[in-house]
């Protein structure tokens, strides 16, 4: 059947094992015209791009790397759904391009054997031909194409070789689709069991859950889905039936049928039982028959070299995966990465910070005072500023992680760390997310997508925010500089301030370990997953891939986390601003303000008396701001729940500042500045002794002359910030990545409880020691 394809775009899916150069081929095919999004509800990155060839336009979708079409998690299911057109809102796939690593044909053909059963037109892109040749592997690609009955195109994606030929083959397929006879590799008995299962499902009208949203364009008139009367023969239905039979975990039933999974399970069990009686071992026989098929296909097609000697990758691995040297190098790499993140980001952060301050100052000067100015300056600009100051370090971190991923080192790091991580019930794959969380929990949580075990992934997501992220540093820096005496021990080698900072980092790590162990023994009990990870060959990272990947992630971060932080900042601003009632102010303050304004204007600018008055006026205005905040909704709330904070040694002002820092932790520094009515110049507050520091030291409990801050209070505040979940972006990302509101709420609840208890214990013990000695 000829395709009336002139009007329509041909959709092409890129499939393949991980590390086969799939993304490189994708970039070579579509250039920089690519978009990244997410499939609704799952975290699979949806990467699409377009190209034109011979008057035909193609839309290419890059699916995540798969070793097999057997879905075991929602993310894998999403990839399979896209292939079979079951994903809503996604065009059905017309042509599959399977990228195959020529130097590892046997394992790669496993996925091919499953793809060829779908009866979707397929092209094999035989990548890394150069690597295979260098290793002395000879492949007869024409014979392979003949045996598989699909086009096989040898390519070298990183050099762009063979890509033109691939485009040509795609165009030929689009013009003249062939009738495809789906491959059957598994024995007759299996096919019969599939049909039996399908007919049972059809009888109960449960089959429509498997139906695609729309049928494939090219395969229309072929066998895929277009025969509603005989779905039992349609390859896609048979694929699903086969997967159901082979999925011993019951994951598919639950994911597809939801509440009816139990009834479906009965049917599946019955069909499985029949299979077993016929001597088919579920699920082991699937791999057996497929690898047998691969053996017959490859027999005579591939000639392996007789002798093999160590490759460069082997030599590098000899050092990099070594228990001593490898770990040492790993620690060095991590140190370097963090140094870079903090060092390189600092000047950029300062630039962004001063730009924001500049805009805020300009707006304050240009606009008339009032709610709108306050909204712009204190709400919008400070909210957007909070997002922007994150970006440099996140971008640099993403860049580093992308380099490590692309050159193949991440798999080695996971291997090295697996020994430790398995002690706390996780696997090595949890390590990189945890590590990224030291810069920021948001990319850390996004990096958990590589963890294939759902329980492990959730545990990692829930403990990642406990890692000391860079947003905690301003809080620690301020409180340590103000309240921890600068004592030095061991001849100046060890400083008390540094020790406190180090113990706060340690507190986060130890708590994360304890929480992870607790979660793995209670909520996420179950066997820890077996750790299997491919260690791909090392390669030079490709700058284009790295920059594109880091850029995409930054965009996703800004879109998701950024909007949330900005929105909540505005909410918090409103709670701190309104009702803004003039009557709530002490009358003498207003009177003095009016007086000063009149007095000031009587004198010429530059006279010393006028300057004195101006200083006093600023002082009065700050007091007015503080008085407004005291009577604002947030201030009232803070005062109402002051009894809750008292056992921690905090008064209502600290409490309010802590609540107001919900959008992002570091906001507390600015809010404390306003609360203790000072210039809100945060940049100044971070540098050396300043009026702000003195002011904090001399703050007293309202109505008394008892000092508010002392070492136990500062420590309790720091412990609170080490453990709390005062970060809207993190919670939003947890919600998005787990696709539920339960987990962010749970995270917030457990972390706030821990933080409160930790701060309580710190203050109470600290206060006892202070008064006792």
């Amino acid at each position: 059947m000829a395709v009336s394809a002139d009007k329509r775009c041909i959709t092409v899916a890129l499939v393949g094992n991980p590390n086969t150069g799939k993304s490189t081929l994708f970039s070579a095919l579509v250039g920089v015209y690519q978009r990244v999004g997410n499939y609704p509800g799952v975290t699979v990155e949806k990467r699409t791009g377009r190209f034109e060839f011979a008057g035909q336009s193609f839309e290419v979708t890059d699916l995540p790397g798969l070793y097999s079409l057997a879905p075991r998690s929602r993310d894998e299911l999403a990839a399979v759904d896209v292939l079979l057109g079951r994903e809503p809102g996604v065009e059905p796939i017309d042509i599959i391009v399977c990228v195959v690593d020529a130097s590892n044909l046997e394992r790669n053909l496993y996925l091919v054997s499953q793809l060829l059963e779908l009866s979707v037109p397929t092209v094999i892109a035989l990548n890394m031909m150069d690597v295979a040749e260098r290793q002395g592997i000879q492949i007869d690609s024409d014979e392979l194409a003949r045996r598989l009955n699909v086009p096989v195109v040898p390519i070298q994606a990183h050099r762009g070789l063979g890509v033109g030929r691939l485009r040509q083959v795609l165009a030929e397929l689009a013009d003249s689709p062939r009738t495809i006879t789906p491959l059957t590799i598994l024995p007759q008995a299996f096919g019969e069991a599939c049909e039996q299962l399908l007919s049972e499902l059809e009888k109960r009208d449960w089959l429509k859950c498997l139906s695609p949203q729309s049928s494939s364009h090219l395969a229309r008139g072929e066998a895929t889905f277009s025969q509603p009367n005989s779905p039992l023969k349609a390859p896609a239905y048979r694929f699903w039936a086969g997967r159901l039979l082979l999925d011993s975990t019951g994951f598919l039933q639950k994911a597809i049928w939801g509440e009816r999974a139990k009834e479906v399970k009965r049917l599946v069990e019955a069909a499985r039982e029949q299979l077993r009686r016929q001597g088919f071992k579920v699920p082991q026989d699937e791999t057996h028959f497929r690898y047998e098929w691969i053996r017959t296909i490859l027999d005579g097609v591939v000639v392996m070299p007789a002798e093999s000697s160590p490759t460069l990758t082997d030599r590098l691995d000899g050092v990099l995966t070594h228990r001593v040297w490898g770990t040492l190098i790993f620690v060095l790499v991590m140190l370097l990465m963090f140094q870079a993140v903090f060092r390189l980001a600092a000047p950029l952060n300062e630039a962004i910070d001063s730009a924001i301050q500049g805009i805020a100052g300009w707006l304050t000067a240009e606009m008339a005072p009032g709610a709108f100015r306050s909204l712009l300056v204190d709400g919008v600009i400070s909210g957007v500023g909070a997002v922007l100051t994150f970006i440099p370090q996140i971008a640099i971190l993403f860049l580093f992680v992308a380099v490590l991923e692309d050159c193949g080192y991440v798999a080695r790091a996971a291997f090295l760390m697996d020994r430790f991580m398995s002690r706390i019930g996780l696997s090595g794959k949890s390590f990189i997310p945890m590590l990224s969380s030291f810069a920021c929990a948001v990319p850390g949580i996004m990096a958990t997508r590589t963890i294939d075990n759902e329980r492990d992934r959730l545990t990692t997501i829930l403990v990642a925010p406990l890692m000391t992220c860079s947003a905690r540093l301003p809080v620690y820096a301020l409180l340590i500089a103000v309240f921890i005496p600068d004592q030095r021990y061991l001849g100046g080698l060890l400083g008390l301030q540094g020790l406190v900072l180090a113990s706060l980092y340690a507190l986060g790590i130890v708590t994360a370990v304890v929480v992870a162990i607790t979660l793995k023994t209670t909520l996420f009990r179950g066997r820890s997953p077996t750790f299997v990870m491919e260690l791909p060959s090392y390669k030079w990272p490709s700058p284009r891939t790295i920059i594109l990947r880091a850029w995409e992630r930054v965009v996703v971060f800004v879109r998701n986390a950024g909007t949330i932080i900005a929105a909540i900042s505005i909410l918090v601003w409103a709670a701190l601003y309104y009702p803004h009632d003039l009557r709530s102010l002490p009358p003498e303050l207003l009177r003095r303000q009016q007086e000063l304004i009149v007095l000031r204007d009587t004198l010429p600018p530059g006279s010393s008396q006028r300057q004195r008055w101006e200083t006093e006026l600023e002082q009065i205005e700050r007091q007015i701001t503080a008085a407004y905040q005291r009577s604002s909704f947030m201030g009232r709330l803070g005062r109402a729940i002051e009894p809750v904070f008292r056992p921690l040694g905090w008064d209502w002002r600290i409490g309010t500042a802590v609540i107001a820092s919900f959008p992002a932790r570091e906001v507390v520094v600015a809010t404390l500045g306003v609360m203790f009515n000072l210039d809100a110049d945060v940049a100044e507050a971070n540098q050396g002794p300043s009026p702000f520091h003195d002011r904090l030291r001399s703050a007293v409990w309202e109505g008394t002359d008892r000092p508010l801050f002392n070492i136990p209070v500062a420590l309790s505040l720091m412990v609170f910030y080490a453990l709390c979940a005062q970060c809207a972006a993190t919670l939003a990302v947890i919600g998005r990545e787990t696709n539920s509101w339960r987990w962010p709420i749970f995270t917030f609840a457990y972390m706030t409880t821990l933080a409160y208890l930790g701060a309580l214990a710190t203050y109470q013990i600290g206060a006892r020691i202070m008064t006792g000695t």
């Binding site: 070793y67 011993s248 082991q284 000899g318 995966t321 750790f531 299997v532």
Partner: protein, 129 residues
């Protein structure tokens, strides 16, 4: 860093009959072995088999221990077989070649089996570049 298991297997390996079946994590570095069986939860075993770790496959140990690194086909896999999953292998005769004699900090496997290298089993290692 001499691990107990290494010492045990390394020093007394020659006395062991070649048909003996051991756990994957007990194999010393450089040793070739054929996988005899995998046991454990069905879905985990299935996934391992999909990756090529299945009965009959010949592997070579690159980094011994648990987790270990094995070479099979053209790829290297990091594997940790813990309490739930057991991978039993039967060591193959042949000199335990050291895979990276140019690396640092790695000792050459000292014991050479008296039997000649068996050519009946295909070499699972990726060839040199």
């Amino acid at each position: 860093m001499i691990r107990f298991a290494w010492g045990k297997n390394g020093f007394w390996r020659e006395e062991r009959p070649s048909s003996q079946v051991v756990r994957l994590e007990e194999l010393p570095a450089g040793e070739r072995a054929q996988i005899v069986s995998l046991s454990g939860p069905e879905d985990v075993v299935h996934r391992l088999e999909e990756l090529g770790l299945r009965p009959g496959t010949v592997i070579r140990v690159f980094r011994p221990g648990n987790p270990c690194i094995v070479c099979l086909g053209g790829s290297k896999l990091g594997v940790r077989a813990d309490g739930h999953v057991q991978i039993l292998v039967s060591p193959l005769p042949g000199p335990p070649r050291c895979r990276h004699r140019h690396g640092w900090g790695w000792r050459r496997a000292a014991i050479v089996s008296p039997t000649a290298p068996g050519k009946d089993v295909p070499d699972p290692l990726p060839p040199a570049n």
